[in-house]
């Protein structure tokens, strides 16, 4: 079964035995987050604050536990509990497919079992955007407000947009098709006119994004569009000017749905302990500090250059996918309003230096 219509009120029923995550209001300051079993699923939000990657690459993850008396290796903390994620945006889902390229076996044969097992045991239903926000530039990065990469199903709100309205669910993968089949009782058939209507509103949303943020580049059309401009300008002066205001806080990394660098540390209490993996950021000076005290990326300029080169050049070379989905969180989250769009624009034309002023 490829598609169906479901009532919004029936969405929690899809959950089954595993964990169910959907956009809800956070306890603290009421912002929108992916919450487990939210009291009320939120639909009028631009994006959740902490991206989807937190469910697949958690901020803190126990890799194994040990005891000096017996070295016990705990295998990928038992099998991960199956999860159903509903309502992440297509950009966050697309980020997952970019992370798949990093953590999957295609990446030089090393497969990260922790990440992959979570992916295998999850079903992701993304929710298409009706009205993207001013900082969205997913289309420039090759995605779109109704993008289909990374998720198993795509949900689109059907008119009229009401809290008791309906959604069109479309399967994007075999897992998605099986999911629809097994939940057939909650679905009604979607006629071709419904699909047409949904496609039209997605096209309108896509046009809106393209218009709002024309960065002069489309990585969907040419993945190396930025790489070929950035590589020869590695030592260029402009990096100093673009990065002067960065305070090295790491917010951009932690809020980015594709950033995935991690640190591994042992935390022990005398003879027992855990090996844990935590998020790390190339913006932290400690990231590349050698035991000798030497730091190859001593200043902010080098670290911020690394961030953008990794996203638009090295990742393209290593994994065949750029590491940006255009969600805009780094823009709104940056305390000094350092804007990735300025960086992109300044490299789109090789000879012209267009630094936002």
């Amino acid at each position: 079964m490829d598609r169906g219509i479901i009532r919004k009120s029936d969405i929690p029923k899809l959950a089954g035995r595993g964990r169910f995550y959907a956009p809800g209001r956070s306890l603290g300051d009421g912002s929108c987050e992916l919450v487990e079993n939210p009291a009320e699923i939120v639909y009028d939000f631009s994006n959740v604050r902490v991206p989807l990657k937190q469910l697949f690459l958690p901020q803190t993850e126990v890799l194994c536990t040990y005891d000096f008396d017996q070295v016990t290796e705990v295998s990928i903390p038992a099998e991960p509990i199956p999860i159903l994620v509903f309502g992440c945006r297509p950009c966050d889902a697309r980020a997952l497919s970019q992370l798949d390229a990093v953590f999957g076996p295609e990446n030089k044969g090393y497969a990260d079992p922790y990440f992959l097992k979570r992916r295998e045991s999850s079903v992701v239903i993304s929710l298409a955007c009706n009205s993207p926000c001013p900082t969205c530039f997913c289309t420039a990065m090759g995605g779109g407000p109704a993008g289909t990469e990374g998720a198993d199903l795509l949900a689109r709100e059907l008119a009229p947009l009401a809290s008791d309205g309906a959604l069109l669910l479309e399967a994007l993968s075999d897992k998605g098709r099986d999911f629809l089949k097994s939940h057939g009782s909650l679905l009604t058939e979607a006629g071709p006119e419904v699909l047409e209507e949904a496609k039209k509103s997605s096209a309108a949303a896509e046009a809106a994004v393209r218009k709002a943020n024309d960065l002069g580049v489309d990585l969907g059309a040419d993945l190396s569009a930025l790489k070929k401009h950035m590589d020869p300008l590695f030592d260029d002066e402009r990096w100093e000017e673009l990065t002067a205001s960065c305070v090295g806080c790491g917010s951009c990394t932690y809020l980015c749905p594709t950033c995935h660098c991690f640190d591994i540390a042992d935390e022990s209490r005398l003879y027992k302990g855990q090996r844990i993996r935590t998020w790390d950021s190339c913006q932290f000076p400690l990231f590349t500090k050698h035991a000798s005290g030497h730091n190859p990326r001593k200043t902010k300029r080098e670290r911020l250059r690394q961030r953008f080169m990794h996203k638009f050049s090295y990742a393209v070379e290593n994994t065949g996918a750029a590491l940006c989905v255009g969600c805009g969180r780094c823009i709104t989250g940056c305390p000094v309003n350092l804007d990735i769009r300025d960086v992109i624009r300044s490299f789109v034309k090789e000879t012209t230096r267009e630094i936002a002023s």
Partner: protein
Amino acid sequence: MSETVAKTIHAEELSTVEGGEWHPIIVAFLCNWCSYAGADLAGVSRLQYGPNVRIVRVPCSARINPQFIMKALQNGVDGVLVSGCHPGDCHYISGNLVARRKFALTKKFLEFVGVEPERVQFSWVSASEGRRFSDLMNRVIADVRRVGPAKRLKKEVS
């Protein structure tokens, strides 16, 4: 940190629930010249106080970094005592005077954050005050018993 000191502060290994009864663990940071000597005098004089105290000797109360107190609480100790020379009597002239300011702020801030005030206490005990030391320890042990096992800042490492 030496292994002995580390063991002292890893209360998990030492925290005892014998026969279902909980016994608090208290870490006491004592300055070498006054409080530690005072504790020693209490011992020599056979003055009794609860066996719940683990003593860490420091050269001066000024050596105490609030992070020591936090680390002890993270490791699961139920109470922390810091004791130094009486103001004006510091072996290093003014160590305890500078420390006094740090301690005042630490105590107030931890209480504000929600850590029970009975858990983190400061005192002045001189080398000749064996009796005062044993009374102090008994008082601190009683206070910590009243507030129960420490949970708030304890770090769970499996």
